[in-house]
């Protein structure tokens, strides 16, 4: 389907922007939210792939990505807070 290719291009541009913030982000919390955004874009790519490839099992992969992202962000937050003065 051609319409889905447009969506993949949009998501690729968003991924480039998020990775740029991940590289230049001056502090650790900036990088953590950039990582959160990268995971969100990956989840969107997985969801659109589930439509394009007609494989509904990819939806479970997306749910797992969302869950692991949440746990990772919370772990990073606890770690940053322990590092604070």
């Amino acid at each position: 389907m051609d319409a889905l290719n447009v969506i993949f291009v949009i998501l690729a541009v968003a991924m480039v922007l998020a990775v740029a913030r991940f590289i230049i982000g001056p502090t650790l919390p900036d990088r953590v939210i950039a990582l959160d955004t990268i995971a969100m874009i990956s989840l969107g790519t997985i969801a659109v792939s589930a439509i394009e490839r007609e494989s509904p099992d990819l939806l479970d992969v997306g749910v797992l990505v969302a869950f692991v992202t949440f746990l990772g962000t919370v772990a990073f937050a606890l770690y940053i807070e322990r590092q604070a003065p």
Binding site: L17, I33, L59, G62, A66, F70, A84, P85
Partner: protein
């Protein structure tokens, strides 16, 4: 008809995710960046998962997609709150145009508690 709905939902969702990433790159400080990604990103991924639900039209799959939407809508604010709190405690610098910081001077860093606000004088604006 169904294809138009699916294409529209996933296009709008992808556009919101692109706006979230653009805000992440362009906003001036940590809290405004988080303001951009937490809300627009949640809406965008939620719309794309809804597109999956409409595309298959199967009850089991649609309920799983809706459960994923609810899960994301519940966990993203919690994660954003924890990162914002940790970043503020780490001493995140606010944008120079910020006009109010209600937590300034109220965190007790050694005991990790928040002091109550100073009592307002009558006639003082909030």
């Amino acid at each position: 008809m169904k294809e138009i709905l699916v294409a529209t939902l996933s296009f709008v969702g992808a556009t919101f995710v692109l706006l979230a990433a653009l805000g992440l790159l362009r906003m001036p400080d940590l809290l405004t960046r988080m303001h951009s990604t937490a809300k627009a990103g949640t809406l965008g991924t939620g719309l794309m998962l809804l597109a999956v639900a409409f595309h298959y039209g199967d009850v089991g799959l649609a309920s799983r997609a809706l459960a994923a939407v609810v899960f994301i809508a519940l966990t993203t604010p919690v994660a954003a709150h924890m990162i914002a709190r940790a970043g503020y405690l780490l001493g995140a610098t606010l944008w120079k145009g910020s006009i109010v910081d209600e937590l300034a001077g109220r965190y007790d860093h050694t005991r990790r508690i928040l002091k109550p606000p100073a009592p307002k004088k009558p006639g003082q604006r909030a």
